[in-house]
């Protein structure tokens, strides 16, 4: 398919297909998106991730042309499309509600864009069949959307958006309406289709698992701005702010005061050694610092030692593959610990527990996160 086919499966960094420059969108004076800059590269799948109200769907609507920006510009392939209406942007959109036309058959839904483009009958027949083949729904062509399951409707919506080989695919929470098992299946299928045709894709979601599993890059959004932009691994392992650390996966945030280049004193007086490599630079003595630590990095230990702290179990949640334990440390700090199964006996609220917080497990958060 098209020029993007050459790049199938391999995002081409550097070449921006979609670009937002200083985009702001206000609703009644309240900015939903505030001065957003973003470049989406050829062939990549970029997720816009954030809680509801963070501006991710508004960003998608700006790109699709459904709402004009209050300020700023939208570029597709370097061309300014800010003033261009959606029907002249040539982008494929999949909606959360699927938005299949209920009065048309599956075939006619998929054929919609081709009919608008006045393609020949033969071409329409051929391309609709191919698109339905891509999503394994050839046999459902003559049915109405209402006769299909949620997962099938989702796939029809995908075929309809892909049939005219759009430059960019925009997905607005496409999996949110599916039940869990189906969602996980569709996630794999979506990624496979996206890779196989190499289409540049922007994926809006509030589900961090979805974003981590699907994306080449993730833009974590908050209050109309991009909080952090990076690969899933960067976002997870090096969250830049407290917001990202807490939104992506669970984490415990500890605050303290530096008493040496790699030493941090917690409010209770306990001193932690913190590995500079994981933190990104050394401390200036006396400065206040905020660190995050992932619950799966904290270890339950028997003997005392460096970075070993005693605490008391406040809560235990059994989750099958692991047990999630909340522990109140001696200094008053509460930490979350994932204990892998089989868990040691005696994990009960009120019981003492000794924890090792490895020096290299800490992530330093940018100050002023909130």
């Amino acid at each position: 398919m098209s020029a993007a086919g050459a790049a199938a499966g391999r995002p081409v960094p550097g070449r921006a297909v979609v670009e937002l420059r200083g985009c702001t969108r206000e609703y009644g004076g309240v900015p939903a998106v505030a001065g957003l800059d973003l470049a989406v590269h050829e062939g990549e799948l970029l997720s816009l991730l954030g809680p509801s109200g963070c501006g991710k769907t508004t960003t998608l609507n700006l790109i699709a042309g459904f709402v004009p920006p209050t300020a700023g510009r939208v570029l597709v392939d370097g061309e300014d499309v800010t003033a261009r209406p959606p029907h002249r942007r040539g982008l494929g959109v999949v909606f959360q509600s699927y938005a299949l036309f209920p009065h048309l058959t599956v075939f006619e839904n998929v054929a919609f864009a081709l009919r608008e483009r006045r393609r020949s009958r033969d071409e329409i027949e051929r391309r609709v069949r191919a698109a339905l083949g891509l999503v394994r729904l050839e046999s459902r062509a003559e049915q109405r959307p209402a006769q299909l399951s949620g997962g099938m409707q989702q796939r029809v919506a995908l075929a309809r958006a892909l049939v005219y080989e759009p430059r960019v695919l925009l997905l607005d929470e496409p999996l949110a309406a599916l039940d869990r098992k189906l969602r996980e299946e569709m996630r794999g299928e979506l990624r496979e289709i996206q890779r196989s045709i190499g289409i540049t894709t922007i994926f809006v979601t509030h589900d961090q698992g979805e974003a981590l599993g699907l994306s080449d890059r993730i833009a974590v959004m908050r209050a109309g701005r991009i909080e952090q932009l990076g690969t899933p691994r960067e976002i997870y392992e090096r969250p830049a702010t407290r917001f990202v650390a807490e939104f992506i996966g669970a984490s415990t945030v500890v605050r303290g005061r530096a008493i040496g280049p790699d030493r941090l004193e917690l409010p209770g007086g306990h001193v932690l050694r913190v590995d500079g490599g994981g933190v990104g630079g050394t401390f200036r003595p006396g400065e206040a610092a905020e660190l995050a630590i992932r619950p799966e990095r904290i270890r339950v230990v028997e003997s005392a030692g460096e970075n070993v702290m005693d605490g008391r179990i406040a809560g235990v949640i059994y989750q099958g593959v692991q047990t999630e334990v909340t522990v109140d440390l001696a200094g008053g700090q509460r930490v979350l610990v994932f204990v892998a199964e089989p868990a040691p006996p005696g994990l009960l609220p009120g019981q003492p527990l000794r924890l090792h917080l490895p020096a290299d497990a800490f992530i330093r958060l940018a100050s002023g996160g909130d």
Binding site: H87, V93, F95
Partner: protein, 260 residues
Amino acid sequence: MILRLAVAALVAFMTLPTLVVIAVSFNPTAILSFPPAGLSLRWYVNVLTYPQFQRAAWNSVLVTAGAVALAMPIGMAAALALARGRLRAPQLWATLLLSPLVVPGVAAGLGFLILGAGLGLLRSRAVLIAAHVALVLPFVMRSAWVSARNLDPALERAAASLGATPWRVFRRVTLPLLRPGLLAALLFAVIVSLNEFVVSLFISTRLTEILPVAMFTYVVNYTDPTIAALSSLFILATIVVVWLADRFLDLGGVFIHHRQ
């Protein structure tokens, strides 16, 4: 048991007057008596040959057609604008557009009479058509609004993203999806307009009067069963229209329970 009797009584109470009128229409004698003394079609012949009824029937057709043709697009546009929150003060608009329902016919009739006289339009059917537009608009609005409100705005965005111009979006998505509501609106509008009497009485002349007004004038002057015959024809026509509509148009079960 008591409930059934109550329902039966209610149904009888609602349908008996109609049945009486139909029975009287076949009465061979020139008085409105019940039960009828025999069986005759002479009053039906009288209906069809009375010149003023012929003229009034033609007026009814013109006024209803004109009013419906104007009220449908206006009502649909208003319903769409309201359903999409495109209007400031939507409550005010909705109240204004539905107000003909609650304004007494006498007051509205007088208003249109004064207005029509001021504009010098009372000899034409223009004021009648304008009045009927106002009177059927609430019915059109309501039906269209229900459909418009159920329309997922994402459908129109989807169509636009697939390359359809605003006009094509309307033609291929919006209009087909509003169809059941619009057909119901059309039916309501036709029935309401054909049966309108009070307002029309104020603004009709001998040359422009519509059938209900002509019937009233006739009853004032004569007491034979002609009017019962005409009423029976009216009832029959309404039943046929509703039956046809339910049979051949998908109204989404507005009038009669929808078949699967």
